[in-house]
């Protein structure tokens, strides 16, 4: 493999504490190294910003739910389907891009890893087929557990060891990465036409509460010592007054200690917290609860969050929170898909237009920006759009620009049709913080890498780490004052290295890289009870045979397996 030396760039690397100093980065055999020979190719990065490749911690980019969005929304790609010159394929779709466009667009923005945030175990093969076809970026997927019958039954009796053994089995069957929870208990209640809106609402039939599910899954996650923590989409998403339930859920992490060999420090990752930070009793008296939620998050060190920024676009909502999608459909009357995934989970899909003229949507936009602006520790607060729920991931450059320029976000805030109402209901107008390039590197690189248990190889530029490097056309000494210029720079890297190979040059895809699929193989003691229960459930309830459940290696031929041993 070739050797490179990236010269004279302004380096931002939280792993080494480098805050914009000029430093050369040497690359050899796919890794960052101390030095290279004189024959190394020189990349001139003078007047540019150099960061590690970014990591996406929560997006819906592969699998049956995403694909349902694609096929039932041809209108999403009609105006946005182009073949660009060069080696790329046709790129289609705006809020639900094709797998090819997904890979290209992440790479163009400087990303090298993405986590598919919700994999229904039964349809894991479909998730892996799409991941395999997504070029350049490494990916992994989180199977959903929060409404799974095995889990509900084990945790009702507080059987942590059985829960852990079952999770380990599912991770191996589905080539999954960790423990995702969506509306714990509420999605199962939805199968009964009900929901769980607080953490104490019992799940029908199973007679277990969301609080017990969350507590039990955190314990099982740490029992296994997985690289990532339990990753939760909380109950009562998107409703005024939900910030109390949000803090109640976060409190469940108090006293729980991380146990892993990956340097991960949190035991709960609470996703798209913007949707969970609302005060008030209805949309009329709705107010931002971001301050209250972030005050708690700032205090409680074993938590990480991501934002879920509303980008004010037409998009497609999709989640395993079935009852919530039904609720959205009732609000906007647009087409609705609902799927029940047997014993495991459910899903819904509804198109959504975050019209800036609407005071509620504009306020959600403001709440989303308040979250990172209130975050005291950028290593625990990550930027997402819960793609495509709050907006397409391709809007990250705009979200960064709003966060990095008070002028830019105030221009937006003050020109809303209902600006007075939005300013009155939120705190954003009083926040003058501007996220720095170093903080951005924490929020999009080092932070998510640590939270995902990938800090050994990802999120930094230290010798020995993966040569995943993004170079942006941003001179920190002359940081653009114009928001659009910031957007433009983050939308198209000057250069992206993936595993030491140049994959993007001046926004153009130059190489498809060698993408890898990450999954976690957790070894547990032999568990006859769980083995018996699995056999029993497949015989009695599943529509398929147990032997047809697992994801064969041919579905993830470029796999990277992270092993953990919980037999001790």
């Amino acid at each position: 493999m070739s050797e490179y030396i990236i010269k004279n760039g302004h380096v931002f690397d939280p792993v080494q504490g480098i805050k914009g100093d000029k430093k050369d980065i040497a690359v050899k055999d796919g890794k960052i190294v101390e030095s290279v020979g004189s024959g190394a190719k020189v990349i001139d990065a003078s007047g540019k910003t150099v960061m590690a490749g970014a990591l996406e911690i929560h997006a819906h980019v592969a699998g049956p739910k995403v694909n349902a969005g694609r096929w039932y929304r041809p209108e999403d790609k009609h105006f946005d389907s182009h073949k660009k010159p060069g080696i790329t394929r046709i790129e289609g779709g705006k809020s639900i891009p094709t797998v090819f466009k997904t890979g290209y667009e992440y790479a163009r923005m400087g990303f090298t890893f993405a986590m598919e945030a919700a994999m229904p175990p039964l349809y894991a093969r479909h998730v892996h087929e799409e991941i395999h076809d997504t070029p350049i970026i490494d990916e992994a997927a989180l199977p959903v557990f929060g409404n799974n019958w095995f889990i509900l039954e084990y945790l009702k009796n507080q059987e942590i060891e059985n829960t852990a053994a079952y999770i380990a089995w599912v991770l191996r069957q589905t080539k999954g990465y960790g423990v995702k929870v969506v509306n714990p208990g509420g999605t199962e209640a939805w199968a009964w036409g009900l929901n769980c809106l607080t953490i104490h609402d019992p799940v029908p039939y199973f007679e277990i509460t969301p609080a017990e599910i969350v507590t039990g899954l955190m314990a099982a996650n740490e029992y296994l010592g997985l690289p990532h923590s339990m990753h939760i989409h909380q109950n009562d998403l998107g409703n005024p007054g939900n910030y109390k339930t949000t803090i109640d859920t976060l409190k469940l992490a108090e006293g729980v200690k991380p146990k892993n060999n990956f340097g991960r420090e949190q035991v709960m990752h609470s996703t798209h917290i913007q949707f969970h930070s609302y005060k008030g009793t209805n949309w009329g008296d709705f107010e931002s609860g971001a301050k209250e939620v972030m005050e708690y998050v700032n205090r409680q060190k074993n938590l990480t969050i991501d934002t879920g920024n509303v980008t004010l676009d037409e998009t497609t909502t999709m989640t395993a929170d079935g009852p919530f999608e039904h609720h959205l459909h009732g609000l906007n009357h647009l087409k609705w898909i609902n799927v029940d995934v047997e014993l495991e989970t459910a899903a819904g899909v509804v198109p959504f237009i975050y019209d800036p003229d609407n005071a509620v949507f504009a306020s959600q936009w403001a709440v989303g920006l308040e979250i990172p602006l209130y975050a005291k520790d950028p290593m625990r607060c990550f930027i997402t759009t819960d793609h495509p729920n709050a907006g397409p991931f391709t809007r990250y450059p705009r979200v960064y620009a709003w966060l990095m320029s008070q002028k830019y976000r105030n221009e937006r805030l003050n020109t809303f049709k209902k600006a007075d109402k939005v300013i009155g209901a939120t705190n954003l107008s009083g926040l003058d913080r501007e996220i720095t390039l170093y903080e951005l590197a924490q929020m999009t690189r080092a932070g998510p890498a640590r939270a995902l248990g990938l800090m050994k190889d990802y999120g930094g530029l230290k010798p020995g780490m993966n040569a995943d490097i993004a170079i942006y056309n941003i001179n920190p000494d002359k940081f653009p004052s114009d928001g659009l210029a910031i957007e433009k720079a983050f939308a198209n890297v000057a250069c992206l290295f993936k595993d030491g190979k140049i994959c993007v040059q001046e926004g153009k895809i130059a190489d498809m890289g060698h993408k890898k699929t990450f999954w976690v193989d957790a070894k547990v003691k032999e568990n006859k009870q769980v083995a018996h229960d699995i056999k029993e459930k497949f015989l009695r309830y599943y529509s398929i045979n147990e032997n047809n459940y697992s994801v064969p290696e041919s579905y993830a031929p470029h796999q990277h397996i992270i092993s953990v041993d919980a037999t001790q």
Partner: protein, 266 residues
């Protein structure tokens, strides 16, 4: 107003995507510049000059530009699509998306148009002096936003699923239509001079449909309420007024439920 004349010299082998054949794309350009505008044929990017002999030059703006197209355009899509002003006259039949997403100006097709024409039209005048296919003035596949403004007139017949999801504007069909006229309509006006097959105004929320001929099978969600004397597109006549679709949700205004209206000429 300046006129640009396009004459077909080479018929495309596949279908040609004429997304650049409109007054907005031509505005401010001379013939040689227009000839360089891109046009997809399948996955290949070709230019308009590969297919047309181009004479004349465009005005400074779309409003000052008239385009006349001669020759066989039956394998050309998107002519006049998204135009905002000016005039386009096509002396041929056209393929899909002709006049779709049009916002203003005048488009005249002296021939038939295929399906999916005038989709989500928002303004201007679109006249088809032949027949139209299916989904005329409807929403794009999957979309819920159909024709919202302007006037679309067909001198001949139209197919099925005409004016689906219409929310505004006026459509006049001087001939007949097949099934599904004005499905999911939520505003606007349809005048049908001929006959309709079945399912007129299914799931209609708001808006008006006038039928001069007959409807083969009436939807069950329509209730006759009264007789009215009306002048519709220059014709004075007595109509029976129906409310509907009673099976669909309806908004309320000042405490009163707003229904859609279907008028059948007596």
């Amino acid at each position: 107003m300046n006129t640009v004349t396009l004459t077909v010299k080479n018929a495309p082998e596949l279908f040609l995507e004429c997304e650049n054949v409109n007054t907005d794309a031509f505005a401010g350009k001379k013939a040689d510049q227009i000839a360089k505008l891109g046009a997809f044929q399948g996955k290949e990017i070709t230019t308009l000059g590969d297919y047309f002999t181009i004479t004349g030059e465009a005005g400074a703006t779309a409003a000052d530009t008239k385009i006349v197209i001669n020759g066989d355009c039956t394998k050309m899509k998107y002519i006049g699509a998204k135009m905002t002003a000016g005039e386009v006259v096509v002396n041929s039949a056209c393929d899909m998306y002709t006049g779709s997403w049009m916002k203003g100006g005048k488009l005249v097709v002296n021939g038939d148009v295929h399906s999916f024409c005038g989709l989500a039209m928002a303004g201007g005048e679109f006249t088809i002096n032949g027949n139209a296919g299916n989904y005329l003035g409807a929403a794009y596949r999957g979309d819920w936003r159909g024709m919202s403004g302007g006037v679309l007139r067909v001198k001949g017949n139209a197919g099925s699923d005409v004016a689906t999801f219409m929310t505004g504007g006026e459509m006049i069909i001087e001939g007949n239509v097949d099934i599904h006229l004005g499905t999911h309509m939520e505003g606007g006006k349809i005048i049908l001079k001929g006959n309709a097959n079945r399912r007129v105004g299914g799931q209609l929320v708001k808006g008006e449909i006038y039928v001069f001929g007959s409807i083969n099978v009436m939807m069950p969600g329509y209730k006759p309420v009264r007789d009215v004397e009306l002048e519709v597109d220059g014709t004075k006549a007595k109509f029976t007024e129906y409310l509907g679709d009673l099976g669909e949700r309806h908004p309320k205004r000042k405490g009163e439920t707003v229904y859609g209206h279907l008028y059948m000429k007596q």
